[in-house]
């Protein structure tokens, strides 16, 4: 019995010696102040379109109202080949973190069948698009980076009568829009 006690005691002492304390110490963990602020330049809250086409008959370009995250164009008329309205907008990064344009999503007008293609959609006689040039030749594409603090991106919303014939009766398209998603780069 005495020998057994000594053995058990010995074993216990041996086990208690076989342990180690592991410590993971963090040094200072600092969070510097950062801001995330990607928005439309809304220093001008209304934007007048540039009109294109032949006569002004049947053409009226609505004014675009601009807030930080929304642009809304008022009622517009385009009625004959060549009629065109171009609104100049600017996206800016006022935050301290770089941003990437992750996606551009066109939404067709209600109950209208359109052919979407990136930042463009053709809906019957009307083509809607967002471009990076006023002439409307270069579509906005995703993937671009907007640098922090001072990054700006001029973009152009264009609505154009691209059909080749006249409209026999009045037609209104409602609800067309583009959604731009920016994420941190």
């Amino acid at each position: 019995m005495g020998v057994l006690s000594v053995m058990i005691l010995g074993l216990s002492i041996a086990f208690a010696a076989l342990s180690a304390t592991l410590k993971i110490n963090f040094g200072n963990v600092n969070q510097t102040a950062q801001t995330w602020d990607v928005q439309f330049n809304d220093s001008t809250t209304s934007v007048t379109a540039t009109e294109g086409g032949t006569s002004a008959t049947g053409r009226s370009c609505g004014t675009a109202s601009v807030s930080a995250t929304q642009v809304t164009v008022a009622n517009t008329e385009l009625s004959k080949p060549g009629d065109k309205c171009t609104w100049a907008l600017t996206v800016e990064n006022k935050g301290s973190i770089d941003a990437t344009l992750t996606s551009i999503t066109p939404t067709a007008p209600t109950s209208v069948s359109c052919t979407p293609s990136g930042a463009s959609m053709v809906c019957g006689n009307i083509t809607y698009k967002i471009t990076t040039d006023a002439a409307g030749t270069t579509l906005l594409t995703s993937g671009g980076t907007l640098g922090n603090t001072t990054g700006t991106l001029p973009i152009y919303l264009i609505a154009e009568y691209t059909g080749d014939g006249e409209t026999m009766s009045a037609v209104t398209q409602t609800g067309a829009k583009f959604t731009l998603l920016y994420n941190q780069a």
Binding site: A16, T21, L22, T69, V73, T172
Partner: protein, 207 residues
Amino acid sequence: MKRNNKKIMYKIIIVLIIVSSILSVVFAALSTTLTVNVGNLTQIATKWNISVSSTSAINNYGSSGTGRDCGTISTSNNVVTVTATTLSKPGDLCEYSITFTNGNSTMNAKLDSLTATAPSGNTCTYTTFSSCTSGNTCQYKMVCGNITYTLSSNESGTSAPTNLASFTGGTTTSKTVYLRVEFTGSSPSESAITQTNPKFTVVYAQN
């Protein structure tokens, strides 16, 4: 000791989970959706209708009817056709009026071009005017040997058809020009000559 090690391990795991959660929440917040709404876009009903509304033969001129036979004029689907005409001596003339109408077009129209086409195999000289779109052909008279073809704003054939320059949308307006085919040579031909397919082509474009 063993229990203490486990407690320490649990604490480390808990700290790591908390840190990971914080990082996840911070990452999900860094995105912005910008929306461009077009609003109502209306195409109003439009009408484009520039056409030939009427034609008529108005004058046969010349000293005598010998060797002169003015063809009849008709129009269909904006094509004016003059049937076979015979002009054989100086002064022979056939003249027709042609009326263009905008037919309640809602859009303005402008004379884009007016092209005189020579009879097949003939060389003609042309007279131009400036009422067409800049840079486009704008001819109202062609002289092809003994025969002169003219589209004029007056019956005497002395004025270019500047009245065709434009139509204003929204109102019905008619404009008349005079088609003259005249023997302007100085002497009759010694043999029969036929000039085939001379024509004028009038093109309007939206303005």
